[in-house]
């Protein structure tokens, strides 16, 4: 399963202050919606992922409810975050 360049870029280094749009699967539209809800940085979304105890299903459900992500988008985002956690957390 090949990963996108965005994914690889995100997972390659600590996220620091990267915007939420740098997450894999989160494009302009979704990014804007998340920012409206207060999730303006990638680390806030990470926070949500961690608060849901890294549960994939719950996180994806949350993402769907919060910004209307579809299956692929939420899968990409979740995978990206999980891998980042594996590498840096």
């Amino acid at each position: 399963m090949t990963t996108s360049q965005k994914h690889r870029d995100f997972v390659a280094e600590p996220m620091g202050e990267k915007p939420v749009g740098s997450l894999a699967g989160i494009g302009e539209v979704l990014g804007k919606k998340l920012e409206e809800r207060g999730f303006d940085k990638a680390y806030v979304v990470l926070g949500q992922f961690l608060v849901l105890k890294k549960d994939e299903d719950l996180f994806r459900e949350w993402l769907k409810d919060t910004c209307g992500a579809n299956a692929k988008q939420s899968r990409d985002c979740c995978g990206c975050l999980r891998e980042w956690c594996d590498a840096f957390l």
Binding site: M1, T2, T3, R8, Q48, V51, L52, K53, D55, E56, D57, L58, R60, E61, W62, K64, D65, T66, A71, R75, C78, G79, R82, E83, D86
Partner: protein, 483 residues
């Protein structure tokens, strides 16, 4: 549901076996949804169980497999969490392949979730057992099955949507089992046979010993025969004379017999008097008899004549010049020999022992040889089995290495998708063991070339050198047998 406070929500979730994280503003809705789903699932599961039981009573055999679907703890049942089109194999495979390094047990929940997610998305309550037949579930079902050994039999018995690899892995293992089985059975039979043969031989030996030891009845026989002697009265022919002469003859013969027997016995048993042979010269015998009984040579000759003429076995052999020819007249007789030498008990025992041993020797050596063969065969079988196990271990390691290499290449950490065979060998086997493991390695390479479809053996130029390489042919993610 909406009226629940956070602690109450938490308690409810925990009662259904789910451990929620912090309930914050952003997570509250999600957990409420979850609780709703769990309650619904618990309800449907109860109904399902009741229905299954009813069905079981009607058709016990067939339903037993299906009654097992996910009897697992409540923690796994998130079938209702995402009812959308979330069932994709790729996700799980990708995420799995990335996180391969994590301990497998650490991620039980997500995988099971995937399985049940897919299941829920395409079934309704009634067709729950049928979801096993869905081809897409091959991996998941197998994952879940591999986690709980209890479920494994039911998974195995399910329809054959499983990856073929599992079957082939069971194949060689089964075949390897069959070979030692036959070997073991043969071993058992052979050893039992040998045991009985040894015991039988022992008894035969003792029997021979016994037979050789005792012949106490022989002299009796000879004496009985002697009682039937025709009377040869020299001087007088009346009753008294006849009887007396008969008695004298008897006595003479008896003495002769004894003498010969003892001489023969002495000869056989160590020969203390240094006799030349068992055959006593006539003159000597006559002398002895004359000393003992005081009878004349005529009587002696008469006795000899009688022995010659009699057909019965008296226990005295008359031998002439030529031992092979039988003697007909008294003049030709050169020496006398006892047919039943009298030997002491010790002597008899030792002779019997010797005879028995020599007779039995051949069988003994045969048995010893067979025992040796058995031990050797056992050793060999054990060695073969060990070698086979070592080979399979090596094959497993090689597959892992080649696959890892390929995955690394996918992540741009390696330059080529293939890896040299020698490189793999040098990675897996430390230098000091290379010679020792050569045989195992060669067999493993052979096995891979013939039996492993996911790895191709090719020849490529690697770093300027032509060498044989292994390339992982990327099949679908069903085929990972060990993950």
């Amino acid at each position: 549901m909406a009226g629940l406070s956070d602690p109450e929500l938490r308690r409810e979730l925990q009662a259904l076996g789910f451990q929620p994280g912090p309930i914050t503003d952003t997570t509250r809705d999600i957990y409420r949804k979850k609780l709703r789903c769990l309650k619904e699932e618990a309800r449907t599961r109860n109904e399902e169980r009741l229905r299954e039981e009813a069905r079981l009573r009607a058709r016990p055999a067939a339903a037993s497999h299906r009654a097992e679907p996910w009897p697992s703890p409540p923690a796994s049942s998130s079938a209702c969490v995402t009812a959308g089109a979330y069932g994709d194999l790729g996700a799980s495979a990708a995420s799995w392949s990335k996180s391969r390094n994590l301990a497998y047990p650490a991620r039980p929940v997500p995988f099971r979730r995937h399985a049940s997610v897919r299941g829920s998305s395409e079934e309704d309550e009634d067709s729950r057992p049928l979801h096993r037949a869905a081809p897409g579930l091959g991996t998941r079902r197998w994952w879940a099955a591999s986690q709980t050994p209890v479920r494994l039999p039911s998974a195995l018995l399910g329809p054959d949507a499983r990856p073929g690899l599992r079957a082939t892995r069971a194949g060689p293992a089964g075949a390897a089992q069959a070979q030692p089985e036959v070997g073991r059975w043969l071993e058992r039979c052979l050893s039992r046979l040998l045991l009985w043969a040894s015991l039988g031989l022992l008894f035969v030996f003792l029997g021979i010993l016994w037979v050789k030891m005792g012949k106490p009845s022989a002299p009796q026989e000879a004496e009985d025969h002697m009682k039937l002697l025709p009377v040869d009265c020299e001087k007088k022919t009346d009753e008294f004379c006849q009887a007396k002469q008969k008695a004298a003859l008897l006595e003479l013969l008896h003495e002769l017999y004894n003498f010969l027997a003892t001489q023969a016995g002495n000869f056989e048993c160590g020969n203390p008097e240094n006799l030349k042979s068992k055959c006593i010269p006539v003159t000597e015998a006559q002398e002895y008899i004359a000393n003992v009984t005081g009878s004349s040579s005529a009587k002696f000759k008469a006795a000899l004549t009688w022995i010659l003429s009699s057909n019965k076995d008296v226990g005295i052999c008359l031998k002439g010049e030529d031992p092979s020819e039988s003697v007909t007249t008294v003049d030709k007789v050169v020496c006398l020999e006892s047919a039943r030498p009298r030997m002491g008990v010790g002597c008899r025992l030792s002779r019997a022992l010797l005879t028995a041993v020599t007779h039995v020797l051949i069988f003994f050596w045969c048995l010893a040889f067979l025992w040796g063969l058995l031990i050797f065969l056992k050793y060999r079988w054990r060695k073969l089995e060990e070698e086979e196990q070592a080979m399979y271990e090596m094959v497993k390691k090689i597959i892992d290495v080649v696959q890892d290499h390929y995955v690394d290449w996918e992540q741009d950490m390696e330059r080529y998708p293939y890896v040299g065979i020698l490189h793999v060998r040098d990675t897996l086997i430390p230098p000091q063991s290379r010679r020792r493991m050569k045989r195992v390695w060669d067999r493993a390479v052979e096995f891979l070339a013939s039996n492993e479809s996911r790895i191709q053996t090719e020849s490529h130029r690697v770093a300027g050198e032509d060498m044989l390489v292994w390339r992982w042919t990327k099949p679908s993610s069903f085929s990972d047998s060990e993950r």
